[in-house]
C-alpha cells in the first residue's frame, strides 16, 4: 500500500511591480535568463508562517559594481562570464527549490552577481560582496569541486542594503573536499534569502559553516545530497540576532546513498525581540543502509522577549542506520556567570566571555584573518 503524507502548503502573495522580462533584458544574457523569467512570473512570494513576509523591496536592478572575487582555482570567473564561455552547460537541472522556488528562480533569472568555480588541486577562494554600494544583490553561483581536489570558499556579505538573494549549486565530485564559509553580516537589510544545494559524490566531503549576524528577515536553506557511498557532510550554523530581527534557518541532510555520514549543528544567541527558527531535517530512504546521521541544536536566550523555535525532523525508512537529534534551549548559565564573577570579573566581561565561548569553534575554523575580524566585530557590536 502506498502511503502518503499531507504537507502544509506555503501561502503566497503577489506584489504590484514584480521583476519581469524588461529587467532581465537590461541585465544582458537575455536568452539564458528568459526561461527562468517565464517560470518566475508564474510564482508568488511565500508568506512564510514564521518569518511573516508581507512585502519585498524590489529596487532597481543594476549590474554589481566593484570586484568581489579573489583567489586561485583552475577556473574562477563571474557567473556571466561562465555563461558566455559555455562553462555552465548542464546547469541547473538539479530540481532544487531552495528556501522557496520564487527566490531560486529570482537568482537564475535576475542575477547581477555570482561566481563559477572549477577547482583542481588545492584552491582557496574569497568572495566578498558589499551591500553598501550595491543595495540589491542577486547572486547565482556554481561551484564544481573536481575529483580529488580540495576547495575552500569563503563568502562574506556585509553592509546595509535592500535585498540579498542568492542561490549556489555545489557539485563535489568523487574523493573531493569542500570547505564553505558562508558569512552574512548585513544588519538592517530588510530581506536576505540564501539557498545552497550540495551534490556530494563517492567518498567526497563537505564542511560548511554558516554565520548569520543580522538582517531584518533572513531565510537560509542548505540541502546536502549525499549521493555517493561514504560521502560525508557536516554543517555548523551560528547565529546572533538582536532587535526585531527574524531568521529562519533550514538544513537538510538527504542520505541518498548507503554508508553516508551527516552531522548538523545549530548554535546561537538571541537577544531583545529577535526570533530564530532552526530546522534540521534528516531524510534516510529505504535503500540507504549503514547511514549515520546526527543533529544537535543549542541556543542561549538573553531576553525575556526573544524567541527560539527548534524544529528538528527525522524521517527514516531503513533500520540499519543511526539517527539522532537533540535540542536544548535556555538562558545564560547562572553558575558559569557566578563562578567568573566570584573570580573578580565584572558582569559584562563575564557575559561576553561566555557568549564568545559559543562562537569559539567557529572562530577557530575561519581560515582568513580579515573575515575572523569582521565576525568578531559583528559579534561584539551585538553583545
Amino acid at each position: 500500500m502506498e502511503m502518503t503524507m499531507v504537507k502544509p502548503e506555503t501561502r503566497v502573495f503577489n506584489i504590484h511591480k514584480d521583476y519581469g522580462l524588461n529587467e532581465a533584458k537590461k541585465l544582458g544574457l537575455f536568452e539564458w535568463r528568459k526561461p527562468f523569467v517565464k517560470r518566475y512570473v508564474e510564482e508568488g512570494f511565500p508568506r512564510w508562517k514564521r518569518l511573516k513576509l508581507s512585502q519585498i523591496p524590489l529596487n532597481d536592478l543594476k549590474k554589481y559594481t566593484g570586484k568581489y572575487l579573489d583567489g586561485n582555482a583552475k577556473i574562477l570567473e563571474s557567473f556571466s562570464e561562465a555563461i558566455q564561455k559555455g562553462h555552465v552547460g548542464k546547469f541547473p537541472k538539479m530540481g532544487y527549490d531552495g528556501a522557496h522556488k520564487k527566490f531560486t528562480l529570482m537568482s537564475y533569472a535576475f542575477f547581477n552577481a555570482g561566481f563559477f568555480i572549477e577547482s583542481s588541486g588545492e584552491s582557496k577562494i574569497y568572495a566578498h560582496y558589499t551591500l553598501d554600494s550595491n543595495p540589491v544583490i542577486i547572486e547565482n553561483s556554481l561551484v564544481i569541486v573536481k575529483s580529488g581536489s580540495e576547495l575552500t570558499v569563503v563568502r562574506e556579505i556585509d553592509g546595509t542594503g535592500k535585498l540579498r538573494v542568492s542561490t549556489t549549486n555545489f557539485v563535489v565530485e568523487e574523493g573531493a573536499k569542500l570547505n564553505f564559509f558562508n558569512v552574512l553580516i548585513a544588519p538592517k537589510t530588510p530581506i536576505s534569502v540564501d539557498s545552497n544545494v550540495y551534490v556530494v559524490g563517492n567518498n567526497a566531503q563537505v564542511e560548511t559553516y554558516d554565520v548569520i549576524l543580522g538582517g531584518d528577515k533572513t531565510a537560509v536553506n542548505h540541502e546536502i545530497r549525499l549521493e555517493g557511498v561514504n560521502a560525508k557532510a557536516s554543517l555548523f550554523s551560528f547565529y546572533f540576532t538582536t532587535g526585531q530581527e527574524r531568521a529562519d534557518l533550514e538544513c537538510k541532510l538527504i542520505h541518498k546513498a548507503p554508508k553516508t555520514t551527516g552531522y548538523l549543528e545549530g548554535n546561537g544567541v538571541v537577544k531583545e525581540n529577535s526570533y530564530v527558527v532552526f530546522r534540521g531535517n534528516i531524510w534516510i530512504p529505504s535503500d540507504a543502509y549503514g547511514v549515520e546521521s546526527r543533529e544537535k541544536s543549542h541556543s542561549v536566550n538573553l531576553s525575556p522577549t526573544a524567541r527560539v523555535d527548534a524544529i528538528p525532523s527525522l524521517s527514516v525508512r531503513n533500520n540499519m542506520v543511526t539517527a539522532e537529534h537533540g535540542a536544548s534551549m535556555g538562558s545564560l548559565d547562572e553558575k558559569k556567570l557566578y563562578y567568573m564573577m566570584s573570580r573578580g570579573m565584572d558582569k559584562h566581561t563575564a557575559v561576553r566571555l561566555i557568549l564568545e565561548g559559543v562562537f569559539e569553534p567557529l572562530m577557530n575554523a575561519i581560515p582568513m584573518k580579515s573575515v575572523k575580524r569582521s565576525v568578531k566585530n559583528g559579534l561584539f557590536s551585538r553583545i
Binding site: M3, M5, P304, D309
Partner: protein
C-alpha cells in the same frame, strides 16, 4: 445501497450522509435541550465549510457518504448486566468487561454502536458525590454543568473533525468529581464499533474540582469490516486546583478505521494531568493529546506508545502549551514500526512569554524493525522567554545484533530474543497501562515474532 447489518440494528438505521435534517433528527431522538441542538447545527455549518487538515495522514480515501453517522442498537439503557441483550453481552464477554468490573472497576459505561447500553455506578461513588453518567443522560440531568463545559475546550471551529463531532456526537461518558474527593478505583469505559460503515463520535467530559483525584480508562476495540470506519471522538478534561487526573487509553480499532480523535485538558494551579496512550489499531490515526498548563505550578506528563504494523499510518504525538510560570511538562514518546507500518511522532511544545521558569523535556525514541517500515519524528519547540529550561532528544534505531546474539547465546530463539527486546523497549510505558492492556500489547509483540516468551 442496502447491506446486511444484522438484525439488531436495522430498525433505526439512517441513510448515509450529513445534513441539517439528520442533525435535527438526532437531537430530537435524544430529547435534547435547544442549546445542544443549536450547537449541533452550528457545528454542521462549520464542518461543511472547513477543509481537511493540511498535515498528517492522507484522508482522500475516506468516503463520508459511507459513514452512517448514527445507529441505535435495539437495546435500552440497562442498569444491570442481566438486561443487556445476548449478542451485545457476547461481544463484551470477549473483551472481558464483566470480569474486570467484578474485580477492580468501580463502574462501566460501555458503548455499543452509538448508544450507551450499560451503565453502572457503585453506590460508594454516589455517596462521594461523584457523577459518572453516559453523556446523553448528563445533558438532561445536569444541563447547567454540562453547558458550562461542553465543547468549550475544543470548540467546533477547532478543526473539521471537531466540527463533525460537534454535529453528530453520540454517547460517551460524563464524570464530575467534587472538591477534595479522591476516586479510589479507576473508572472505565469501553467503546466499540460493531456495524460496518458506522462512525463513532463519543464525547467524554471530565471535571475535577479542587483537590480531586481520578484515574479514567478508555479502551477501543472493533471487529474487522470492509467498509471504511471513522472514529472521531472527543475528550475534554478540566483539572482544578491541586487536582490529579490520569487518563489511560488503548486504541485498538480494526485495521480499516480512520481514527481522528481530539483530546485536550486544561490544568489549573498546581494540578497534574497524566496522559498514558497506547495506539496499536486503526488504518490511519491522527491523535495529539493536548495539555494546556493555564495556572502556576501546573504539571503535565505524556506517555505515548505507538505500534504501527502492516498497512498502518499512525500519526500521533502530543501538544503541551505552557501559559503560566513554574509549570512543568514531560513527554516520553516511543514508537515501533514493523512490517511496512509507518509511525509518525508530531509534537508541539510551546512556552509562552508569560510562562517563566518552565521546565520541560521531550524524548522520542523509535524502533525500526525492517527496511520496509517508516519512522518520522517532528517535534516543534517554541520558547518565547529566557528563563525556561527546555530539552529535547530523539533517536531512531534498530535492535542491535549484539543484544540478539547475547540472548541467543543464553538459549533463546531469535524470535524470542527480538520479542523480549521490543517488550523491554516498551516496558516503561506499558507498565503505566492497566494490566489487561499490558497483556494485549505483549501478545501483539509476541505474535509479530512468533514468540511465546512472556
Amino acid at each position: 445501497m442496502k447491506k446486511d447489518f444484522g438484525e439488531f440494528n436495522i430498525i433505526t438505521r439512517k441513510e448515509s450522509g450529513f445534513d441539517r435534517r439528520l442533525i435535527e433528527e438526532i437531537s430530537f431522538n435524544k430529547e435534547e435541550p435547544s442549546w445542544m441542538r443549536e450547537l449541533r447545527l452550528r457545528s454542521l455549518e462549520i464542518f461543511l465549510r472547513k477543509s481537511n487538515p493540511n498535515f498528517g495522514v492522507d484522508l482522500s480515501a475516506l468516503d463520508m457518504d459511507e459513514i452512517v453517522p448514527y445507529l441505535k442498537p435495539n437495546a435500552k439503557k440497562s442498569a444491570s448486566w442481566d438486561e443487556v441483550p445476548d449478542e451485545i453481552k457476547d461481544t463484551f464477554e470477549k473483551l472481558g468487561i464483566p470480569e474486570a468490573e467484578r474485580k477492580v472497576l468501580s463502574g462501566v459505561g460501555a458503548q455499543y454502536d452509538s448508544e450507551v447500553v450499560y451503565q453502572n455506578i457503585k453506590s460508594k461513588l454516589k455517596e462521594l458525590g461523584v457523577i459518572f453518567l453516559d453523556m446523553e443522560s448528563a445533558v438532561k440531568e445536569y444541563p447547567d454543568l454540562v453547558k458550562k463545559y461542553f465543547m468549550r475546550l475544543v470548540p467546533p471551529s477547532d478543526h473539521k473533525f471537531a466540527a463533525l463531532h460537534g454535529a453528530v456526537w453520540s454517547g460517551g461518558s460524563f464524570v464530575y468529581v467534587p472538591e477534595g474527593v479522591e476516586v479510589p478505583m479507576p473508572l472505565q469505559a469501553y467503546f466499540m464499533m460493531a456495524s460496518p460503515g458506522i462512525g463513532q463520535f463519543e464525547h467524554t467530559l471530565i471535571i475535577l474540582e479542587k483537590g480531586a483525584k481520578l484515574h479514567f480508562i478508555e479502551g477501543c476495540s472493533a471487529p474487522k469490516y470492509s467498509a471504511s470506519n471513522l472514529h472521531s471522538g472527543m475528550v475534554e478534561i478540566y483539572v482544578g486546583e491541586g487536582a490529579t487526573m490520569r487518563y489511560s487509553t488503548i486504541q485498538n480499532w480494526s485495521k480499516n478505521t480512520y481514527n481522528l480523535n481530539t483530546k485536550r485538558a486544561v490544568i489549573g494551579k498546581d494540578g497534574t494531568m497524566v496522559w498514558v496512550s497506547g495506539s496499536i489499531g486503526s488504518s490511519k490515526t491522527m491523535l495529539y493529546p493536548a495539555s494546556i498548563l493555564r495556572e502556576k505550578g501546573a504539571r503535565a506528563e505524556h506517555m505515548n506508545i505507538t505500534y504501527a504494523g502492516k498497512d498502518q499510518h499512525l500519526d500521533t504525538g502530543s501538544k503541551v502549551i505552557h501559559l503560566a510560570p513554574y509549570t512543568s511538562s514531560k513527554v516520553d514518546a516511543r514508537s515501533i514500526s514493523s512490517d511496512g507500518g509507518w509511525s509518525f511522532y508530531r509534537g508541539l511544545l510551546r512556552v509562552s512569554p508569560e510562562a517563566h521558569h518552565v521546565k520541560s523535556t521531550v524524548e522520542c525514541s523509535a524502533l525500526m524493525m525492517d527496511d520496509r517500515s517508516a519512522s518520522d519524528t517532528l517535534p516543534i519547540i517554541e520558547v518565547m522567554n529566557n528563563d525556561s529550561d527546555v530539552g529535547h532528544e530523539a533517536r531512531v534505531g534498530r535492535i542491535r545484533e549484539e543484544q540478539i546474539y547475547y540472548l541467543m547465546s543464553r538459549g533463546l530463539s531469535e524470535d524470542d530474543a527480538k520479542s523480549m527486546i521490543v517488550r523491554g523497549f516498551m516496558a516503561p510505558i506499558i507498565k503505566q497501562l492497566p494490566l489487561e492492556y499490558a497483556i494485549e500489547f505483549n501478545k501483539l509483540v509476541n505474535m509479530n515474532f512468533k514468540s511465546s516468551v512472556g
